[in-house]
């Protein structure tokens, strides 16, 4: 049971956990990751997230499917926001359930590592009026490589 969504609205964690449990009852372990706009002291900043509608959802789903093939996950819910967000705002939620904790942790961490370099979202940071496109850090690519995969489907 995999569910992905791209939305401008914020998401409720209680609602997400409730949907996860309805989708696949019987889990013993749930792991949630929430990514937030970091509140960096000393500079007012915002983040504008752009995506490729349709392909962003497909790329998120492909990552979740690979995770569900690799670990015995019962349910996965992923929500990614787009639009302009301020410090402290929620950007992304990855929520997985499994019978046991190790599969739940591994599945959630793998999905986040893959999201960083594979899903088609772009982030424009606005700090003190200066705008910068953020690109995946080299550490993001090595994080995904540590799972035994090249970054990006079909990449050479």
């Amino acid at each position: 049971m995999l569910s992905v969504a791209v939305q401008t609205e914020d998401f409720s964690l209680d609602d997400a956990f409730r949907r996860l449990r309805q989708a696949a009852p019987g889990a013993g372990a749930e792991v949630a990751f929430v990514g937030l706009v970091r509140d960096q002291a000393g500079s007012v900043s915002s983040l504008t997230l752009e995506h490729y509608p349709g392909m962003s959802e497909r790329s998120m789903l492909a990552v979740c499917q690979r995770a569900a093939e690799r670990w015995p996950l019962l349910a996965v819910e992923a929500i990614h926001r787009v639009g302009t967000l301020g410090p402290g705002d929620q950007i992304v939620l990855v929520l997985v359930s499994s019978a046991h904790r190790h599969a739940a942790f591994a599945g959630a961490q793998y999905i986040m590592d893959a999201f960083k370099s594979e899903v088609v979202f772009w982030k424009l940071e606005n700090r003190d009026g200066e705008k910068t496109w953020i690109e995946a850090a080299p550490s993001d690519r090595s994080a995904l490589a540590a799972w035994g995969e090249a970054s990006g489907e079909g990449a050479p």
Partner: protein, 84 residues
């Protein structure tokens, strides 16, 4: 017609978000499309083939410049992504 889309910093660099090209010739490849785009937007070819730029045809990544396009295809040029 072929629909071409540019995202994020490519969109800003090229000054446009999308473009329709009347390229209905059979056997048009990605390489051929790049030539047509460079004619339409001078300098586009260098931007679109810079390191890290990826191409998707109908929302699926394509790596091969000999890939053949069909009328109605949507081609997107994607700068390095960073989700999550």
């Amino acid at each position: 017609m072929i629909e071409v889309r540019f995202f994020a910093r490519l969109r800003e660099a090229l000054g446009r978000e999308r473009l329709s090209l009347p390229l209905d010739a059979p056997g048009l490849t990605v390489a051929g499309l790049l030539c047509a785009l460079d004619a339409e937007i001078p300098g586009a070819r260098a931007q679109l083939t810079a390191p890290g730029i990826r191409l998707a045809v109908n929302q699926t990544f394509v790596e091969d410049e000999t890939f053949t396009l069909n009328p109605g295809d949507e081609i997107a040029f994607l700068p390095p992504v960073t989700g999550g």
